[in-house]
Symmetry: C2
Subunit: 447 residues, 2 copies
């Protein structure tokens, strides 16, 4: 498990030990500056200089189609978001201890996207900060101290949240107040994913109780990104959430990955017909400007605020609000949720058609523009992480940037910007076909 | 203690319970959006619309001199910082998994400002994130689990860091692995502040040991902002740091407040002749663009990275680097460290001269552009938080924004931008004089 988890963060990362330190002055400066905390893609890292829409360009002038990055979700350097930040940063960038109409307009709009009932929002910078508050709010509200996550979940990097993020642990296991259950895949739970997952969650509630921890919350990313992308059948999360609520806990929907249109709906939990008790959001929220949020019911937030005075210096500044508001505008006006649905469907069909003819591609699944492709070594679906790594590098050679996920890192993570055009989707499918073809020859040394 | 601490965050904050909810549509939207986590200055909050240099302008066109905000430290809307962000955000804003020369140029420059020896830097968004890593890195490196902080310290808002932030606790006490010692004031320790503080820290080391916690670190903001601003005599931190190191712990310099020129030196710890084991930074680092950092020795970072894979999505993007680099440029080219020293000296003289003629002003102290003024009710220096609150509101009426600090909230916190001119400093002194004069009449209802 520890070794397996390690795969995910290290998957296809530059490793100065294994890869050596090439005679590249920029890379040498990088390693001196970042030290052991440096995480770079590819054994030959790429120096990027610009990006627009779904495309990035490196220092050598090579253009890549970005199928990886879930932050610039409405498109790299989107003119509307760029203009909004440019205008506001020259005018006023101050903390939320003063009133500003842009911040309230943004939050009015953001709250209107959430399910019925009243919501408050705490704004911050990173998804980690949002989940860090969510854990405390859940514990304070329920009186519980136990948390349930999936086996290869990643919810963030603070001291508290990393305990709920098995994917980030290089060794050791989560602490006693955290129980990790297998992600809701057909491979684990068979045909009744909803029932099987709910049963696993019930088992986790009992395991927590046996350790003296009443359940505070089930926290789940409804697209299960780092677990390997599990989307179907929609609705499968319901029974597990019911079980947690019956035991006195609440449901925290971590929308840092699926939120803001990615799955073809505004929020990933909508596919499950759920109204979460807490919704956390981040990454694509400002299309690159650092924003995050935790939305919850006023009574839950009030309870949280009884103990501590929470204030976030950079949360909810007018510049953050300008970025966030322009993202909501672009999603609505360019119909990006619908485009994610349409282009996602197109990609899913095309990839499934490739998979039906290529035994190296196993299960292909997803929702909207978040698709997982298993790389397998046989008909039983035995994971083949080495093939995933080869494919990632073969796709780089064909100008596509992409990553992997899953406990063993054998699931290719298809995650382009929501503004993807059909021509770009086709470019990817062609590149995938060509990359697979190239891999029948000895694995290329690219990368 | 709990009640006292609560004062600080609530000091002069809008309170819809006590102040009522005026018929102000923006304020009503604000309360609906932020809920219990709303923190607003003044019982009649100000709607800000723009800011430039040391001045902010509200929706009614009233201009205020900003003596409060420690984020836009090189001046609100500084054209150089604004231009740097505007240019880069239109070009590329991507995570640090790709190489970018701007990020490395920034870190080369930042590391060069730190004391001799090798440093690595982990970039994030908020000072809270930086301190959250620092605590873990300190524990991992030393094997200790105990932390020493000052009584009204504030180091951040994550679940882990808030335990080291007594100022943010509305009730209850820090947990067993944290011992809070009185801040290094003459009032507590008499003439030998260095010796007295070191003795208190030694006592804390013993108290931690008795609870089964070897000391991991002393974490201190060297200007002791939230404790009430304690700067002199420079060097007083040395013996306490020696004591911690002798016990196997390390010293974390929280430079979120004093860093980047505020105290008349680039770093607050320089006034104490110290080389910290870990330096954390935030607030003014990007002049409003969310950036933070934790700098430490490569061996300490390597140890931290053995357990977990740390990655920060928004840390070290080219836009963050552009903001940070332009701040370093402005500090150097406009001589802001020297200006902080010069203008700070001028303000200190002028305020001390006012204090010598006004018994309501007690001790006046500070370094550079961070000065604390105690409001007192008698010659023994009995704290008068009500007078501080009145003065804050009287200064607002005279177009100066300012806040308070200290365990009882009776210390006026003088903290203008580093670009302060002599005319602006004089404007403040005149406003302070007039505000004090107005307070001989019944306390104005402003605010």
């Amino acid at each position: 498990m520890a070794g397996a988890s390690r795969q995910i963060l290290d998957m296809n990362a530059f490793d100065s030990g294994a890869d050596g330190l090439p005679d590249d002055p920029l890379l040498r400066r990088r390693m001196r500056n970042f030290g052991a905390a440096s995480v770079l893609f590819y054994s030959r890292p790429i120096e990027m200089v610009s990006a627009k829409g779904a495309w990035m360009e490196d220092a050598a002038g090579i253009r890549y189609l970005d199928f990886y990055n879930n932050v610039p979700s409405v498109g790299h350097s989107h003119p509307r978001v760029v203009a909004a930040v440019q205008a506001q940063i020259g005018q006023l960038n101050v903390n939320s201890r003063y009133l500003h109409s842009l911040t309230e307009t943004y939050l009015d709009r953001l709250r209107a996207t959430l399910p019925g009932g009243d919501w408050n929002v705490v704004l911050g910078c990173s998804g980690s900060e949002a989940n860090d508050i969510a854990l405390r709010a859940a514990a304070r509200w329920t009186g519980g101290t136990g948390f349930i996550v999936t086996e290869t979940a990643y919810h963030g990097n603070t001291a508290a949240v990393i305990e709920e993020s098995p994917a980030a642990l290089k060794r050791g296991a989560p602490p006693a107040h955290v129980v990790a259950v297998p992600a809701p895949s057909a491979k684990t739970y068979g045909k009744d994913i909803a029932g099987g997952f709910a049963q696993a969650v019930e088992g986790a509630i009992e395991a927590l109780a046996a350790r003296g921890h009443a359940v505070a919350a089930l926290i789940a990313d409804s697209i299960f990104s780092s677990d390997g992308v599990f989307a179907d059948p929609s609705g499968f999360l319901g029974p597990a959430v019911d079980a947690v609520r019956a035991a006195g806990g609440i449901f925290v929907a971590d929308e840092v990955q699926p939120g803001f249109g990615r799955t073809g709906r505004m929020w990933g939990f909508e596919r499950h017909g759920l109204s979460p008790d807490i919704v956390t959001m981040g990454k694509p929220m400002g299309n690159g400007y650092p924003i995050s949020g935790m939305a919850t019911r006023p009574e839950i937030l009030s309870k949280f605020c009884e103990d501590i005075g929470y204030f976030n210096t950079f949360g909810g500044t007018p510049v953050a609000a300008a970025a966030g508001l322009s993202v909501l505008d672009v999603i609505a006006e360019e119909g990006l949720t619908e485009n994610a649905d349409r282009m996602g469907g197109y990609l899913l069909d095309e990839i499934q058609s490739l998979a039906s003819a290529d035994p190296r591609l196993g299960d292909v699944r997803g929702a909207g523009l978040f698709i997982g492709i298993d790389l397998v070594s046989d008909k039983d679906g035995t994971p083949d992480p080495a093939a995933a790594k080869s494919l990632i590098n073969a796709l780089r050679d064909r100008r596509v940037l992409i990553g992997a996920a899953g406990q063993l890192g054998h699931t290719l993570k298809v995650r382009p910007p929501l503004c993807l055009t059909e021509a770009e989707a086709t470019f990817f499918v062609d590149a995938l076909r060509a990359a697979l073809r190239s891999m029948t020859a000895p694995t290329p040394q690219a990368g």
